[in-house]
Structure formats: C-alpha cells, structure tokens
C-alpha cells in the first residue's frame, strides 16, 4: 500500500468519523441521563440542511454554523418537551423525529432550491493548518489540517470525559441515568438534567450535521445523513458508553466507511456491502457477548 493512498485513507477516515463522533457524543450524554434518542439521524439531517441553507443564503459559513448550533439546541428542547415534560415514549418520539426531518428538509430544500438536479455548492471553509504537524506523514493532513468543527470534536472528547467523571454535574447526570428516583431524593433536579442533556445532544448533532454539509460535502443532498445517526447509536454501544471508547469506535467505523470508497484502489476482493454492515454486526456481537458489561445506565429508556 503506498503512502499516498494511506494518507488519503486516513484523511477520509477522520472526515467520516467527525459527524459520527459528534452524534455519538450527544447520544452518550443523553443515554447517561437515561434517555435513548433514536432520532439522531433526524437531528443530523436537520443540522446539515440548516447549515447548508443558511450558508447559502448568508454567504458566511461561520454564521451558518453558529445559527445551526442554536437551532440544534432548539430541536433538542423539542425532543425533551415530548419525552421529559410529557413523558411520551422515547422510541416513538425518536422514530417520529426521523420521519419529521426527512419530510421537513425535503420540502424546504425543494421549495428553496427547486429540483433542478444540479447540486448547489457552497464555498468550503479553509482548513486551519497547524504548522509542522500538518506535514506529518499519513496522519498529518487527517488530524492537523481540520476546520474548527473538526478540531472541536477532538477537544470535546477529553472535556466530556472530565465533566462526566470529575464534576458534580457529571455525577448528577450519571445518577439520573442509573436511578432517577434516588437521584431526586439526593436533591438532583432530574428533569433539568435530562432536558439539558438533550439540548446538548441536539447541539452536538447540529455540529455533526454542519460538518457534513459545510466542511465535508460543501452541499446538501436529501437524506444525506444516510444512516450516520444509527451508526452513532452503534458507536455508543461498541465504545462502551465511555468518551474515549466512543472516540475509538467512531474512528474505527469512520475507517471502515472510508475503506468502502477506497477498496477498489486497494484491490480488495470483498463486496463493499461488507463495510456497510460492519458497524451493525460489530454492535450485535458486542451486545451478544458482553451484554452484562456495556455500562448501560440502569434506567435507560425508562
């Protein structure tokens, strides 16, 4: 395997991993608070559309990302209204959210940009190169020539690990997920914790969607989240619900997805669908052989 292909593969793997990592970190926080959000896919799609549409209208990518993050918080708040305030079933609302995102983004896209078929594109955000490091072989371009959103999720991993394990907020969050009643008796405001976790989840998914539309594809295509939200669900499980585990799993699945595009160049004799289903098979294997030890909060989904 030559150096050029390896570098391209590493760069693609990290680029594929970024949106997955954002969504998975958001899901991690929600799940630690006891909420399972299967609407990640919808959140990503809404984020990608809003980032694209605002960037296209305003001409400013950073304004688009900021506005999208705000909107993401709002979507998270809507989800929280149904599942926390109204006590609606999390699975049902998550499913509806995915349908909603497909419908809304489809209609707005066609109303705004027509069905011309010619893909509209936006100006890419220039990457911020870190001198010297960006020239490292193989990983240089992948890790040290990223956009702010790309660096953002790398920094978020240790930050979230610290908040979860070393701060009072993190403790309250984990208590809420394990046993909301006991947490409430200890004086934890369970509702506030859960609502906040879902708002942060919405913001992180919005960041992932923004990266996908603005930094990675520079355009919007209907349904462009293409299952990433569900892979993120898988990543949270395979990563054992730990921020560093999630990082590892996101990179691994990002790599598997990137391989799918490069497998011809590598002359592998493996059908590309194998890479497509890898995350899902891995998740079932992890669950089947480690179900007792996946660090699932006791009150998850309840």
């Amino acid at each position: 395997m030559n150096l050029e292909i390896t570098t391209a593969l590493a760069t693609a793997a990290v680029a594929m991993a970024v949106p997955l990592l954002y969504a998975a970190l958001g899901e991690l926080l929600a799940e630690k608070a006891g909420i399972i959000n299967i609407g990640l896919e919808g959140f990503l799609l809404l984020g990608a559309f809003s980032a694209f549409a605002i960037a296209h209208a305003s001409g400013s990518n950073s304004a688009a990302v900021l506005a999208t993050l705000l909107l993401g918080g709002l979507w998270g708040l809507c989800f929280a209204y149904f599942v926390v305030t109204r006590g609606a079933n999390q699975i049902v609302v998550g499913t509806a959210l995915n349908l909603f995102a497909v419908g809304l983004t489809g209609i707005l896209y066609r109303a705004q940009f027509g069905v011309t078929g010619s893909a509209l594109s936006i100006r890419p955000t220039p990457p911020l190169e870190i001198p010297v490091l960006a020239n490292l072989p193989i990983v240089g371009r992948a890790l040290f020539s990223q956009t702010l959103l790309g660096y953002g999720c790398m920094i978020l991993v240790p930050v979230i690990a610290f908040v979860l394990m070393r701060t009072r907020t993190g403790l309250e969050l984990r208590m809420t997920g394990e046993d909301p009643r006991a947490a409430a008796i200890q004086g934890v405001d369970v509702r506030r914790i859960r609502i906040s976790a879902l708002v942060v989840c919405g913001i992180l998914c919005a960041a992932g969607g923004s990266f996908l539309a603005i930094d990675y594809t520079h355009t919007f295509v209907e349904g462009m989240s293409s299952g990433r939200g569900f892979i993120a669900l898988a990543i949270v499980i395979v990563g054992r619900r730990h921020p560093y585990g999630v990082l590892g799993a996101a990179l691994f699945f990002g790599f598997a997805t990137a391989l799918q595009f490069h497998f011809q160049a590598l002359a592998f004799d493996v059908p590309f669908q194998f890479f497509l289903i890898l995350p899902y098979v891995a998740t079932l294997v992890v669950l089947a052989f480690n179900a007792g030890n996946t660090n699932a909060p006791a009150a998850l989904g309840k």
Partner: protein
C-alpha cells in the same frame, strides 16, 4: 376506547394542519395541494386501487408492530423483516421448479413469512438469552438486512441478463392475481383485510393474546402469576416478524415482482406511525393504514398538480405522532402497551 379514537382523529387533523402550515410557509397553496391529493387518491377507480396497493403493506406491517408493542416489545425492525421476507420469497420463487399457482403463491408467501420470522427470531433470542435490548438489535438488523440484500441483488441474486442490480422477475405461478385488469389492486388486499379481525381475535379472545397484553403491561407480575413470559416474548416476536415478512412477500409477489436496492420506501418505519395512530388496536391499525394509504397514493398527484413535494407525507406522519404525544400524558415508566 372511544376517547382514544377521538384523540387519534384529533391528532390526524393536527398532522394535516401542520402539513398545511408548512405548505403555506414555503409559499404554496395548502387547499390546492390537499385537493389535488384527495382527488388523486379518491377521485377515480385508479386512485382507489392505488390507495389499496399502498395500504396493504401498511396494514400488515402495522399489525406486526402493534402486536409486538402490545407485548411491550419495541420491534423497530419491521423494515428489515419486510425486506428479509421479500428476499426469501424471491429466492424461493426464482429457484424452484414450476408449480401450479395454487401451491406456488401460498408457498412463496410462506417463504416470506419465514424470512421475517427468522430475522425477528434473532432479536428475540438475543433478548432472551443475552439480555440485548430489542430496540438496538432490531435497528442494527434493519441495516444488516439492507446491506445483505444490496450484496445479493448485485451478486448471487442478480437477474440472469445481468443488466441491472435487481433480481429476476417472479415467475407467474408465484404472483398474486390482480382483482381487475388495468388496476394494480390485488387479492392480497383481501388477505390484509382478513388479518385485521384475525389479529383482533388472537389479541382479545385467546389465551395467547391475554398473555401478550399482560406481558406488555407488567411482565414481572405476569411471570409471578405463572405465565410463560419468555415463551410469549419469543412467540410474539416471531409472529410480528412473520407478519412483516408476509407484507414484504405480498409486495414482491403483487406489485414489484422483483427485488432491488431500496425495495421498501420505508414501510416498516411508517408502520410504527400506523400502529401508534391506531392505538395498537387491529381495527385502529386498519383505519390509520387507510389514512396513510390515501396520503401516499395521493402525494404524487399533489406534487404534480400543486408542486408540493411528496415528502410532505413523512412530515404529516411525524406530526400526527407528535400531536398524540402532546395530547396524551403518559408516565415515562409506562413502557408497555395498554
């Protein structure tokens, strides 16, 4: 029961209203759009035939989802079970020597039901033996099935002429006959309609149905009362998967005749909306499936005549569920069916 039906009707109205609002905000004319939709679906014999064609898979998968949810099993995998059923039906029908239709059609549908049941069975066994949450396992299985089917139609199952990534067409002996020439409505409609009272009978009039409902409301109490809860979970999951697989078999044996990528336009996910709007009751599922069938069948003419994208239907379906969630206060711990 009655107040639940009224809530559902209100939620359906709220969903349509939300759709109208979005049309208005995007500069369209909601009245023109809905008129075109209603006319396209219900203004002609052809329209009604299409409503039946779209409703069939929704009725059967809706029943599949409702049955599982009633037992407190969150089977999100109807999509994968439907596709898995369809692919096994195609395998059987294109690989088997010529049969008379009277055997060929039931055998093809049986193969489909088996396919769905097998896939659901994996989730059931993972749950019972390894404690794996069925929400996650069924979602994962959906994507695994889609990937495997993608591989099959590009490889071993690809048509013999090798032009397109699709299976050979089903031989005529495996196809469900159409009811009227020139219309796509097929005898599967009668089957789907018959499954509604059949499911209601099982759910409300048999011991199995009683255990399903008891398990759904309180599995621990049901176990203590001496019922075989684990066996009920396995049987319900397999029955749910068999229904979803059957829906896929009916679709491939009467509408598409072939297997290809994106075979299902998300019937298995819409089925969740159907089951929820139908309040997990077989007759409610029928009503909800017909409503969504009208929306799906009329959406093409809405797009053509009024220029409103057909994906509006997904938005309406989602808003119906949101409205139900907002109308009805439910304890969060109350995860089972009623």
């Amino acid at each position: 029961m009655k107040s639940r039906a009224i809530t559902s009707v209100l939620a359906a109205a709220a969903g349509l209203l939300a759709g109208a609002l979005v049309i208005l905000l995007t500069g369209g004319d909601p009245i023109a759009a809905y008129t075109a939709l209603a006319y396209g679906a219900m203004g002609s014999g052809y329209g009604w035939s299409e409503v039946a064609v779209k409703s069939c898979p929704l009725i059967v998968t809706g029943l599949a989802v409702a049955l599982a949810f009633r037992a407190g099993l969150w089977n999100i995998g109807a999509e994968g079970q439907l596709v898995g059923g369809a692919v096994l039906a195609v395998f059987f029908a294109t690989r088997t020597p010529h049969l008379p239709s009277i055997i060929g059609v039931p055998a093809t549908l049986l193969a489909a039901a088996t396919g769905g049941a097998l896939i659901a069975g994996i989730a059931a066994i993972l749950k019972l033996e390894r404690g794996v949450d069925e929400v996650i396992s069924t979602i994962m299985l959906n994507f695994i099935v889609l990937g495997v089917v993608g591989y099959l139609v590009h490889g071993p199952l690809m048509e013999s002429s090798g032009n397109y990534p699709q299976s050979d067409a089903l031989p005529t002996f495996a196809r469900l006959p159409r009811l009227f020439s020139g219309y796509r409505v097929h005898v599967g409609l009668a089957g789907a309609l018959a499954l509604v009272p059949a499911t209601a009978f099982v759910l409300y009039r048999t011991r199995f149905g009683y255990v399903i409902r008891a398990t759904g409301s309180n599995p621990i109490a049901t176990k203590i009362a001496g019922f075989a809860v684990d066996r009920c979970i396995l049987a319900t999951f397999v029955a749910s998967g068999a229904l979803a697989g059957l829906a896929g078999g009916m679709e491939v044996a009467s509408v598409t005749y072939r297997m290809y990528d994106n075979f299902s336009p998300g019937y298995g996910y819409t089925a969740i909306a159907v089951a929820i709007l139908g309040r997990l009751d077989p007759w409610g599922v029928l009503a909800a499936a017909l409503m969504f069938g009208v929306l799906e069948a009329g959406s093409a003419s809405m797009q053509r005549v009024a220029g409103v994208s057909a994906v509006l239907v997904s938005l309406i379906q989602a808003c119906v569920i949101f409205a139900l969630a907002a109308f009805e206060y439910q304890r969060a711990s109350d995860r089972g069916g009623p």
